[in-house]
Amino acid sequence: MAQDTSVRDDEAQRAFRLKARAVLAEQLPPRVPGQTEMVWDDETVATDRRSQRALWDAGLAAITLPREYGGLGLSQRHADIFYEEATAYRLPWQFGIGFNVVIPTVLAHGTEEQKQWVVRGMYSGEHIWCQLLSEPSGGSDLAGVLTRAEQHGDEWRLTGSKVWTTGATHADYGICLARTDPAVPKHAGLTMFLVNLRQPGMDINPITLLNGTVEFCQEFLDDVVVPDKHRLGPVGGGWTVASTQLQAERSGMSRGWHEGVALAVESPEITLSSHYVTLAREAGVLDDPAARQLLGEAFVVDAVQKITVKRVSQGVRNKALPPSASALSSLMTSRCNIRRSALLSAMVGPLGVIDTPGHEERSVGMARVATHRIGGGTLETQLNSISERHLGLPREADPSRDVPFNQVRTNKPRP
């Protein structure tokens, strides 16, 4: 549970803590342990919008943001206090991408007017934001976007397709990278836009994943209109903006979308998963030394994943590790997921490939099928990032880097 640091509060901090405690108790729903944080159903989204609005109205939102943009202008310590108090409540998770990715990007590259509008719209619970970044044709090559933006007077028209968007079904706005000049090298011809998702020409389709769940969307943009005042950064400066965005995404994933809350909620000690024990007991293998080897290693995998992510998060936050280290957490999580699925599958043998009513044994085999993660970039992106940014090995040659983009071999956009 939360590490109570209230003994260190000064008077103002104490007052802030008590206000937060009262408002949270009155306005926010309780946290249900084990509940998925990012769940995109109408009811949850409505609840989260209400929660965010309540925090805003009570003066508990945008704690560390500058006052001139509607923030409270308080210290990181105040934010930590808020999260210490908030551990028992469901926070408005659906705004996490906005807070962690969109805000830093807009504050770094936006106009005064954009900063005002985005901060207020988001922190008041009105606007949920998403990222329109990857494209079906593009894979890991984010600078290779095919979505075109053409200027018509005071507005831009965007046409193309984006994919792997979290929350597009419920979001109001998205930041969207588009190509404004295909005749220059790929990084130079990009521009970033703030796009209204609720408009004609914007077709949003949930993607069914191989396990039948829906977590992401694909969007088709057909002459979607963006006023020029919603262009973020200069024309042709999109890659610089996207770099801020990607860095913010990496840091955010490393810290957690609601920074601090995960650390505060989680036990600092290593625990041995009772789920695995139940699995082993129900499979009847608790007395089998070979199965116990698999179980024991699964405990290790869990523990190492947890403490590595915690160490990296803490290191990046304290600047003991460079921001590039955050890819270590992503990769460790991928590797642990793969290994865990192999261990538990081996432990339950044939029981892993059938569904036992009322239990989740089926997930044992399903986890073997669905080890792949794309959140935060593919495995390959993480491996490149660690070796190049974190270990300082030479960057992979990119022969498409200096060629006019319209001369680069690309994939056809999928229909």
Partner: protein, 380 residues
């Protein structure tokens, strides 16, 4: 399969591949999965007309086992079924035909083999129990003497196509009054009184699995296959055949998945070049090709050893199962990864391949079961 197929074998391979691509491509499986359909008996009859079961049936009963290289040819067919993640009852029906042809009475052979060979009769094989140690050991069903006949009690687990089967090949351990620790086999109509089915949702969307429960199922002496209490050696031979078919299928599944992954890597562009030009990805698939070659070698060796009744047949099938099972999953898992985001979607076929590989790895004894078996075969 053998590295140098005979002309006949190559023709069998080609014919089977074309037949399956035409009559039962992966889109057929997608339709089954989307609509939760059961066994398509019409397709299975067509398969049988190709001679798939006839390989194990003597000519006198509608087959051509005398003229064919039963196990070797069946392994070629099984590998092809893997390439399209075929969903029919090849393994249990072939095992049943083989068992009845080898151990059945004249009456049983006459009554049952023609239907099996023609694809009119579908068989399911009840070997082991429903628990974690299921796979290669009898034990779920107990047979006790009852006058001239027998009574069966217990549960068989992971029984493929039990719900659609006409015939059950039941492997039972003998109760105390029945020859002690022996094993007996019975061939009985699926509708025999006292049998109930509990279907299980399977990870492999093309495999229908069920628990089959026997509650005081009374059988006449004519249901017995071979000699009471002395079926263990026959069961071992059936298991060997099943493992060859299963491992060959896994090789086909893996081979095809790696094949379309390589195609994808040659076509898919990133950073202005095909992703197959990235060395890290190239090295991963080089390892996959190598382990797959190992699985092919192991299955070819096992098929030949079982076909010829070689001294190392029991060892060879466990080696083939371990290698194909472990690496099938591992290779296709990484092939899915190599597809990037599209590989994670329901609309891409690769998850059907991976589901089959994971399922095959776990059924008929996961690799750890075969590692323990190899220790026992080494006399330990």
């Amino acid at each position: 399969m053998d590295i140098d197929l005979t002309d006949d074998q190559r023709m069998l391979q080609d014919t089977t591949r074309r037949f399956l691509e035409d009559r039962s491509p992966v889109t057929a499986l997608r339709k089954i999965a989307d609509n939760k359909l059961g066994l398509d008996r019409a397709i299975w009859r067509e398969c049988a007309e190709q001679g798939w079961v006839a390989l194990f049936v003597p000519e006198a009963f509608g087959g051509f086992s005398e003229s064919a290289q039963g196990v070797l040819d069946a392994a070629i067919i099984a590998e092809e079924t893997g390439r399209v993640v075929f969903s029919g009852p090849l393994l249990p029906t072939c095992v049943a035909a083989f068992a009845i042809a080898q151990a059945g009475s004249d009456a049983q052979r006459e009554a049952l083999l023609p239907g099996l060979a023609a694809g009119e009769t579908v068989a399911a094989w009840c070997l082991s129990g429903p628990g974690v140690r299921a796979g290669i050991e009898p034990g779920g069903v107990i047979a006790t003497r009852d006058g001239d006949g027998f009574v069966l009690n217990g549960t068989a687990g992971f029984v493929q196509d039990a719900a659609d089967a006409d015939l059950l090949l039941v492997t039972a351990v003998d109760g105390a009054n029945n020859n002690g620790a022996g094993v007996s086999q019975f061939v009985i109509p699926a509708g025999t009184a006292g049998i109930t089915l509990a279907p299980r949702n399977a990870l492999d969307l093309g495999r229908r699995l069920a628990d089959v429960r026997f509650d005081g199922v009374r059988l006449g002496a004519d249901a017995l296959l071979g000699t009471a209490g002395e079926a263990a050696a026959m069961v071992e031979r059936q298991l060997q055949l099943a493992l060859v078919l299963q491992s060959a299928e896994t090789v086909g599944v893996t081979d095809r998945a790696l094949e379309f992954t390589l195609d994808y890597m040659k076509q898919r562009m990133a950073f202005g070049r095909p992703i197959g030009s990235f060395q890290a990805l190239k090295h991963r698939v080089a390892d996959h090709a190598t382990q797959l070659e190992g699985a092919k070698a192991a299955v070819a060796h096992a098929a030949r050893a079982v076909h010829e009744g070689a001294a190392d047949a029991a060892i060879a099938v466990s080696v083939a199962k371990s290698q194909s099972g472990r690496w099938g999953t591992e290779i296709i898992r990484d092939c899915l990864q190599l597809h990037g985001g599209i590989g994670m979607t329901w609309e891409h076929d690769i998850h059907f391949y991976l589901r089959r590989a994971v399922s095959n790895e776990a059924l008929w004894g996961a690799p750890p079961v075969h590692h323990e078996r190899l220790c026992r075969l080494a006399g330990l």
